[in-house]
């Protein structure tokens, strides 16, 4: 007997999930607009975007709950565009968890194994192992209505993982949990993914969650991928103003790009004067004319003493102070016509917290600027 179909070896060169020119409309509304994407084997991948950007629809097309109007969905090197969900090597953790209310925890987790007709002992031991993996030991007989939100989440995870999927799909799995539990689950999901080596695809609207957990992120707006990259790339080198303001806080300063000078980008701003930036400081192909400069709040400093110096500095009046305990966020007036900008400072021992109206020295460097 040829074993080629039973024991498929995953080729690292073949992407685990490959989407080619995917389009999907509901009635007259096109929600995914010709999208290409490759997700590698063993990757923790996030689809990040605001609600209505098409990220959930995309996930549902990978799962097999929706069929694209055009385009090709391939999973593990096999074309599966028109396969039903029960024929795909993917499993999903639903936003609502979708725990079967008439079954208890053990029965929920064993649901997908029933088809495999395993001996009873083996089935039970596999379910118990899985419950242990997701930290639910001892809840085998617990009825599903007696579970907390966090426990339902783990049951949903166990129920999907016991199927040994090639790809685990997570549809906003943490959005219903409170902050503490959410942070804990973020680390646990990451740990699970590393231990099991399964490809995880996470849909989320929470940029922080995506940054913490992912190997790569696709930022989606309006049915298309606006930017694809590692968390650090996305955060530090956003390609558009839209991406920049969706990921974290970004200050915008208007300027005029005058062209290259000594291999540097020459930008004139009214707030910060003339600045010269490296060509790597823009991800887009800028043309001379009006541009926007982006500066993260933590990339500027309030200079607390006269000893402290910076590459460049200016004086500014504080218009708002938000004290977070570990951090203080200052809003300060810009010298030019730009909006007030936000600066975050870590609170350290003995460090003064300024008040509204104080005039302070703000230090900054050209390295931290990105041209959009």
């Amino acid at each position: 007997m040829a074993s080629s179909s039973t024991a498929k070896i995953i080729d690292r060169n073949i992407p685990m999930v490959k989407l080619e020119n995917i389009r999907k409309s509901f009635d007259d509304l096109e929600v995914v607009k010709g999208l290409d994407l490759e997700i590698g084997s063993g990757e923790f991948f996030s689809l990040l975007g605001p609600s209505g950007c098409g990220k959930t629809t995309l996930l549902r097309m990978i799962a097999g709950f929706e069929t694209p109007n055009s385009g090709i969905v391939s999973i593990a090197g096999e074309e599966m565009t028109n396969f039903d969900a029960n024929e795909r090597p993917t499993n999903m953790v639903f936003q609502s968890y979708a725990i079967f209310p008439h079954l208890n925890v053990g029965e929920n987790v064993a649901y997908g194994l029933k088809k495999q007709r395993l001996p009873k002992d083996e089935m039970k031991s596999r379910v118990l192992d899985m419950l242990k993996l997701v930290d639910l030991d001892g809840l085998y007989d617990r009825p599903s209505y007696a579970l907390s939100g966090g426990q339902k989440q783990r049951v949903a995870l166990a129920r999907a993982l016991i199927m040994q999927p090639k790809v685990l799909l997570l549809d906003e799995p943490l959005s219903a949990l409170d902050k503490k539990l959410r942070e804990q689950m973020q680390h646990e999901l990451r740990r699970l993914q590393r231990t099991l080596g399964i490809t995880f695809i996470l849909v989320t609207h929470d940029q922080e969650e995506a940054l913490i957990m992912s190997d790569r992120i696709a930022v989606m707006f309006d049915g298309k991928i606006a930017q694809l990259g590692h968390p650090q790339e996305i955060y530090e080198r956003p390609v558009t103003k839209k991406v920049a303001s969706f990921i974290g806080v970004m200050n915008f300063i208007s300027g005029e790009y005058l062209g290259k000078k000594d291999d540097k980008l020459h930008v004139r701003t009214s707030s910060l004067g003339e600045v010269f930036l490296k060509s790597a400081q823009t991800a887009s192909d800028v043309q001379p004319g009006n541009v926007t400069l982006g500066l993260r709040p933590e990339m500027m400093t309030v200079l607390f003493s006269t000893n402290e110096n910076s590459e460049y500095e200016f004086k500014a009046k504080i218009t708002n102070v938000s004290y977070y305990g570990d951090m203080t966020y200052y809003s300060v007036e810009m010298p030019g016509p730009d909006d007030d900008i936000s600066i975050s400072m870590r609170n350290t021992v003995g460090r003064h917290v300024y008040s509204v109206g104080d005039v302070v020295r703000i230090g900054w460097g050209t390295e931290s600027i990105v041209v959009l």
């Binding site: 799962a63 969900a85 639903f94 609502s96 209310p101």
Partner: protein
């Protein structure tokens, strides 16, 4: 008790009295030792119940009624499942007007429905039988089945079905392992309400019965003999108790259907 709530309380008692006083008369006269239905009561007896037990044509009528009620409720529940599933999961042209037409028999006068069906049957040259009564009762019970089951199917979280498919189960398996268990309380309450509607329905049964009367039609025929009136009272009492039991079971399952299908468990189920 607050002073200003007294008028409301009086209203409540009048209201309940108006509703239930006639019903209370049933057991009173069912056990009264006199052939005349009038006060004062003359004494306690269970004779009327013994009479009932010996009336063979009554048992035939009861058997007919139960047969019709079981069949009609079964058919209307099947129609209900099909309609409810379509309403909850599919979108098609004329969906709302279709739903309206299915629910319409709720508001049509039964006598009109009865006469119309009778005319159609005559034109077709079909003989009146238990089946013609069943057809009429299915028409009446279907709107109730549809509305109960639409609630059950609408409350069913769609992602439960998707989760089942996602875990490798096919559509038929999903129906039996997930959908059916979750709508079973709805099915039971639909069967029960169909059964009770059919069991005491008179107008349509009166028009469409052939030589085999249903129980209400038989009771009506008894009313021509004043001496049989206490027997009718006794029979009425038994039917009342049976209906109350059925309705309580119905209510239990209806509530369970709502809570189970939406994934929330309420009190009363362990």
């Amino acid at each position: 008790m607050k002073k200003n709530s007294r008028p409301l309380l009086i209203y409540l008692f009048i209201y309940l009295g108006f509703l239930y006083a006639p019903v209370v008369l049933l057991p009173l006269f069912a056990f009264n030792d006199s052939a005349i239905i009038a006060f004062p009561l003359s004494g306690f007896t269970t004779d009327w119940f013994s009479w009932l037990m010996e009336d063979e044509s009554l048992f035939r009528a009861l058997k007919n009624s139960v047969l019709i009620a079981v069949t009609a409720s079964f058919i209307s529940t099947i129609f209900g499942v099909l309609t409810a599933r379509a309403m909850a999961r599919h979108r098609f042209l004329g969906k709302q007007s279709m739903f309206g037409l299915i629910m319409a028999p709720l508001f049509l006068p039964e006598i009109i429905v009865g006469v119309s069906i009778l005319i159609v049957l005559m034109q077709l040259g079909l003989a009146l039988s238990l089946w013609t009564v069943i057809a009429g009762h299915v028409l009446l019970a279907t709107p109730f089945s549809v509305s109960i089951l639409t609630t059950a199917f609408n409350n069913l979280d769609r992602s439960l079905e998707e989760a089942s498919l996602d875990l490798g189960e096919n559509r038929i398996g999903t129906f039996f392992r997930v959908i059916l268990p979750l709508v079973t309380p709805g099915l039971i309450s639909s069967l029960l309400i169909g059964f009770t509607i059919s069991l005491d329905e008179f107008v349509i049964a009166f028009f469409l019965t052939g030589t085999d009367p249903t129980l209400p039609v038989y009771i009506w025929s008894l009313l021509r003999f004043p001496s049989k009136l206490p027997v009718v009272m006794a029979l009425g009492f038994i039917l009342l108790v049976a209906s109350l039991v059925l309705l309580s079971i119905f209510e239990f399952y209806r509530r369970r259907s709502e809570s189970l299908a939406s994934g929330k468990e309420n009190s009363g189920i362990k």
